[in-house]
């Protein structure tokens, strides 16, 4: 790798620098502010807001930074917006939760910002090294966050499990990456792509692809690499679960797209087949397993696995439209998933854990708006118009049909039908069962904001999705998809 980084490179990583500064500020503020002050959340939000503001100059930038370590393009930009938005919502939903759990907020917000930083590097990375550093930054933050409620045994167990299995899968991923480096002599994805042309039959390369698929399959919780997800999702603090299932998943998909579409376009015949099988298995197993869950967080964990299956359809399609569909879906998914978790956090009260199905009984009497919002999120997750979830699925399945994968679309639709069963079951509990026990359900201002944002996003993107469509298509085009499309022909 050529040494030396110029000053202009620092300009291009301004958002990352701002976020790093913000994270440090949170640590300092934690010391200066009185114990238990809610102001810390606002400092965090300020850091996120400043980072979003610092993205503005890069609206149409398309450059490689630091000798091809990072790309600053619209693809990365799109993901960065998703990450930062998700982080902001996560912070909003954490305030009261941390208070109830009695956890110290300082390190918590710091780690949320660190994880976000890692994600941003993952989305921008076009070199295996940067991507890996980003991944580790994110993963290590999440290992700690998962076990953040120290007195809670399940939280501890989740953290340890996540850490052990994460390390294990990371080993597999690294093994694959090292073979890729060994065969091409470079870690830069774009250089690698040219080096691999004509090497399609090399069994070592096929092995590398398999290992990378498995490693990434773990990150996006694709079956059969998914088994950690339900346990971790259930055990981790709820806001962390929310961020994990949205942010970490989106970042892993960004990384997946970078590696396969930019680095391994010549191997597309192989990885498309693998991802197709993974998509089918993941959708089906995820939805089937969700059917009998009685814990909402666990149910959403399986639902999240199933959604990873849907999103994989876009990778299989491999076309610009498929990638655009993935971006669209990931953003829409962020709104509905975070919205659903916000409701679960609203249900968490001093005397009620609030993540069991029966806790939702008769919610429409206790808190009509929360019940309505949850209904909306469930319909959206199930893909019912006029919610955003429908538009997302419509786009994904449309891309699959467009690329000639009618069978994937059919399986996807069948799976959506299965999934409705467990989404609607929750609705039945909320609207048709008598009221459950426990203290009244209330929202706090920050939870209210988070909920409102999620509700508005879920409705708005379902009714008027055009802006998002345009943005996603523009972003997808900046990725080296053209090369893949050419290789497929």
């Amino acid at each position: 790798m050529p040494p030396g980084i110029s000053t202009s490179d620092f300009y291009y990583i301004l958002p990352e620098l701002v976020l790093t500064g913000g994270a440090l500020l949170v640590l300092i503020a934690d010391v200066l502010l009185p114990r238990g002050s809610k102001a810390l959340a606002w400092v965090t939000l300020l850091a996120i807001g400043a980072t979003i503001a610092s993205l503005v100059p890069f609206g149409s930038t398309h450059v490689e930074v630091a000798h091809g370590l990072l790309a600053v393009d619209q693809f990365a930009l799109f993901f960065k917006i998703v990450f930062l938005g998700a982080a902001a919502l996560t912070v909003l939903m954490s305030v009261r939760y941390l208070e109830i759990e009695g956890a110290s907020p300082g390190e918590y917000y710091f780690l949320i910002l660190c994880a976000t930083l890692g994600m941003m590097i993952m989305a921008g990375g076009i070199d295996l090294l940067t991507i890996f550093i980003g991944l580790e930054t994110m993963a290590v933050s999440f290992y700690i966050l998962a076990g953040f409620i120290k007195p809670n045994q399940r939280s501890n167990e989740a953290a340890v499990k996540y850490f052990l299995l994460g390390a294990f899968s990371l080993g597999i991923l690294l093994y694959g990456m090292s073979i890729m480096y060994g065969l091409s002599g470079t870690t830069n994805l774009r250089t690698m792509a040219t080096a691999f042309v004509g090497q399609e039959r090399d069994p070592r390369l096929v092995l590398a692809v398999i290992l990378v698929v498995a490693g990434l399959g773990f990150k996006i919780a694709a079956v059969p690499f998914h088994m950690w997800a339900p346990d971790v999702y259930e055990g981790a603090p709820t806001p962390v679960t929310a961020f994990l299932s949205v942010g970490s998943k989106a970042a892993s998909f960004a990384m997946l797209l970078r590696i396969f579409l930019e680095g391994l376009p010549s191997m597309s015949a192989d990885w498309r087949l693998m991802f197709e099988v993974l998509a089918i298995v993941t959708m089906t197993i995820g939805n089937l397993a969700a059917l009998t869950q009685t814990n909402i967080k666990r149910m959403l964990a399986y639902s999240s696995i199933a959604h990873a299956g849907y999103i994989l359809i876009g990778v299989v399609a491999g076309t610009p439209r498929g990638v655009a569909a993935m971006l669209i879906y990931l953003l829409i998914y962020a709104f509905m998933q975070l919205g659903a978790f916000t409701i679960i956090i609203i249900m968490r009260r001093q005397d009620v854990v609030g993540d069991e199905l029966k806790d939702f009984s008769g919610l429409h009497i206790r808190h009509p708006f929360a019940a309505f919002a949850m209904l909306l999120f469930m319909l959206s997750l199930g893909g019912i118009p006029p919610t955003a979830g429908f538009m997302g699925k419509f786009w994904l399945f449309g891309a699959a049909i467009d690329a000639g994968y009618v069978r994937l679309a059919v399986i996807g639709v069948l799976n959506s039908a299965i999934s409705l069963y467990y989404y609607i079951r929750l609705v039945v509990f909320m609207y048709l069962k008598p009221q459950g026990a426990g203290s009244p359900v209330t929202t706090s201002p920050s939870l209210g904001i988070a909920l409102a944002v999620a509700v508005i996003g879920t409705i708005f993107l379902g009714v008027y999705p055009r802006l998002l469509f345009d943005l996603a298509e523009m972003s997808a085009r900046t990725l080296g998809v053209a090369a893949v499309t050419a290789a497929i022909r």
Partner: protein, 668 residues
């Protein structure tokens, strides 16, 4: 600016729907009427600007937003005013405003909240109707098309506590859905065929094609669209909902079920004149259905005793006329009749409303009579409307109806012309039957106030003529019924047929079926000074002759009504007895409802009870669902058992995944 036209009534709807319960009747009425009048004002300005443009480029468009873009599928929410839609928005907002004003008095006995609900629906209807006529592509039109259907349903069933009203609303909705299904299919086919839903673009690509001589895609898609039109415009075989729709408040009948919504089908064909012009087979069907409907409804109208039902069948019949015009390619004539009909039919409905209002809900003609003295304003305006619809010379209906009959005759459709003429006779007769029975003669005793519409205080026995708000609407519409025809005075009698020149650009180069008068008509449609005069003189004699015939027919029809229903009332009853069979068939509306009941409703009911519910649903579907459910649930529990929480097992699962993929490659 165009957006304001539908937006203003929509804002009116929002205001009345949100705050209607809390504001006074005066405020609710003012909001509704104000928004309509403002919309009318904006429409006038828009049309004014349109007229200022040179004829060949007369179109204003506004893209409100690009709605759906998906690959090469691009639908924008675009509104467009061209001569055709200009005429329509003036009718909708102009006559709509009058009917709103009329309603403020007519609905005054409703409770405050009901009053506001009524006006909110009426405003919403106007907004959707304006979207329908302003839409520049099928999808936007469809939004309006469905929207007006919804409002029609809501307003027919406005008195929802009354079972017959609720049923009528449902019937209208269901019958319209059948039509809409055809419309959707037609729309999809159009998209498949042309790759766009924009009216102008479709017209442009169709214009390059030859007319379809065999029954092909164009015929199929136009026919499907026409199915939609038969539903919305109450043509055979989907006409059954309109007479029942009279359960709604009378101003609603005037606005929705006479002047505007029901003409949407005619408008839709006019909008796609070039497309339909290329499907001669469809046009023939349109003409035949239109004529048959006109005749059938006219004969039924002759024997109905409910004043509103007579008018309803009259509307169906007049719509049939319009479709006849469309079917023979006389688009201008059809739209011209739509225009004049809006005036006199709204007038007649509002007049009948004034009668019903005065008689505290009485609708039966047999219990009316001699109202001329007590309700002079209502009488004279109603009389004017009746003259206009009958086709008495120099009134609005004369010019437009005559234009249709002349075009039909000139087009060589002798049979259709004959039936049209016969219907014209019927029209004059049944209309004046109403006039004579309701306003002349003596009142048939004190009526026992069945009060279907107005459960008014029964102490108030004296009759009162229309209150000012109602009188205003009646008088303005009466003036319109006299004057509206003068925009289209044919050249044969020294006019210049300005409406034809005005509308011509909207219909594009309308290709006509080859026949003897093709040249003459082509010349008329495309003004070229010399040929125009030449052709005009060649056909003038014919046109004048036909005018004479239809004038005579109209007067003859009035004469027949005078003889049977004023001079020798017994003669009518004797006729009814002598032709008891015919009378029964007509009174029972040709048993169409009964046929539907026997052929559609009962079989569906039986099939769904016995076949679908007990057979398919219980056995097959429930069985399959329970079976699949069991299977799915079973596998779900199995999956649950694997999830033991053991980290080692999870790691094995990951490893196993890798091994399986590897194995696949090794095996291959």
């Amino acid at each position: 600016m165009l957006l304001l036209i539908p937006l203003l009534p929509f804002v009116g709807f929002l205001l009345n729907a949100s705050f209607g319960r809390r504001i006074s009747k005066a405020a609710a009425g003012a909001i509704a009427c104000g928004s309509m009048l403002a919309s009318f004002g904006v429409s006038t300005i828009a049309v004014w600007r349109l007229v200022g443009l040179p004829p060949e480029s007369r179109a204003l468009a506004q893209t409100v937003l690009r709605w759906i873009t998906s690959g090469d599928f691009d639908v924008s929410f675009t509104l467009r005013v061209d001569p055709l839609s200009a005429l329509m928005i003036l009718v909708v907002t102009g006559i709509g405003s009058l009917i709103h004003i009329y309603s403020t008095a007519y609905m005054h006995e409703e409770r405050d909240s009901e009053y506001a609900r009524y006006f909110s629906y009426l405003n919403l209807f106007a907004a959707f109707m304006l979207v329908l006529v302003l839409g520049s592509n099928f999808l936007v039109m469809f939004v309006g098309w469905e929207g007006v259907g919804l409002c029609s349903y809501l307003l027919i069933g406005f008195w929802y506590q009354k079972e017959s009203a609720a049923d009528a609303g449902k019937k209208a909705f269901i019958v319209n859905r059948i039509g809409d299904f055809g419309f959707i299919l037609g729309m999809l086919l159009a998209f498949v065929r042309f790759g766009t839903l924009d009216f102008q673009e479709i017209a442009r690509s169709v214009a390059a094609l030859r007319p379809e001589t065999t029954f092909g895609t164009l015929s199929a898609l136009t026919l499907l669209l026409f199915v939609g039109a038969t539903g919305k415009s109450a043509q055979i075989p989907l006409h059954v909902w309109l007479p029942d729709a009279m359960e709604g408040p009378t101003p609603v009948s005037a606005l929705i079920h006479a002047a505007t919504m029901v003409t949407a089908g005619v408008y839709m064909i006019g909008r796609n004149a070039v497309l339909f012009g290329h499907a001669p087979h469809t046009l023939t069907i349109v003409a035949i259905i239109g004529t048959a409907t006109a005749l059938m409804a006219g004969t039924i109208g002759l024997v109905q005793n409910d004043i509103k039902r007579v008018l309803a069948y009259s509307t169906v019949s007049q719509l049939g006329y319009m479709f006849l015009a469309m079917g023979v390619g006389a688009y201008t004539a059809g739209i011209f009749h739509l225009f004049t009909h809006a005036f006199f039919k709204a007038l007649l409905f509002l007049g009948s409303g004034a009668v019903i209002h005065a008689l505290a809900g009485e609708q039966d003609l047999r219990r009316m009579g001699g109202l001329k003295r007590e309700l002079p304003i209502t009488y004279w305006t109603f009389f004017t409307g009746a003259l206009a619809i009958a086709g008495v010379p120099l009134l609005a209906g004369f010019f437009s109806k005559d234009e249709i009959l002349y075009r039909t005759f000139a087009g060589g459709h002798l049979w259709l012309w004959t039936v049209g003429l016969l219907t014209s006779l019927l029209t004059a007769t049944y209309m004046f039957r109403v006039v004579f029975l309701a306003f002349h003669g003596e009142r048939a005793g004190e009526h026992p106030a069945p009060s279907t519409e107005h459960p008014a205080p029964s102490t108030q026995r004296h009759l009162h003529d229309a209150p000012p708000a109602m009188a205003l609407a009646l008088i303005v519409l009466a003036a319109g019924s006299v004057l509206a025809g003068y925009v289209g005075v044919p050249r044969a009698v020294g006019g210049s047929n300005r409406i034809e020149q005005f509308l011509a650009p909207s219909f594009g180069e309308v290709r006509l079926k080859p026949d003897a008068t093709n040249d003459a008509r082509a010349a008329l449609l495309q003004p070229g000074q010399e040929r125009q005069e030449e052709a005009a003189s060649a056909t003038e004699g014919l046109e004048r002759g036909l005018m004479g015939v239809s004038s005579a027919i109209a007067l003859g029809g009035i004469g027949i009504a005078w003889f049977f229903f004023l001079k020798k009332k017994r003669a009518a009853d004797e006729m009814a007895v002598r032709f008891a069979g015919v009378h029964r068939v007509l009174a029972n509306k040709y048993y169409v409802d009964e046929m539907y009941e026997a052929a559609v409703v009962q079989p569906i009911r039986i099939a769904s009870d016995e076949g679908l519910w007990n057979g398919v649903d219980v056995r097959v579907i429930d069985g399959a669902v329970n079976g699949v459910g069991g299977l799915v649930g079973g596998s779900s529990s199995a999956l649950r058992r694997i999830q033991t929480g053991s980290v080692r097992l999870y790691a094995v699962s990951v490893m196993l995944g890798v091994v399986v993929i590897l194995g696949y490659y090794v095996w291959r």
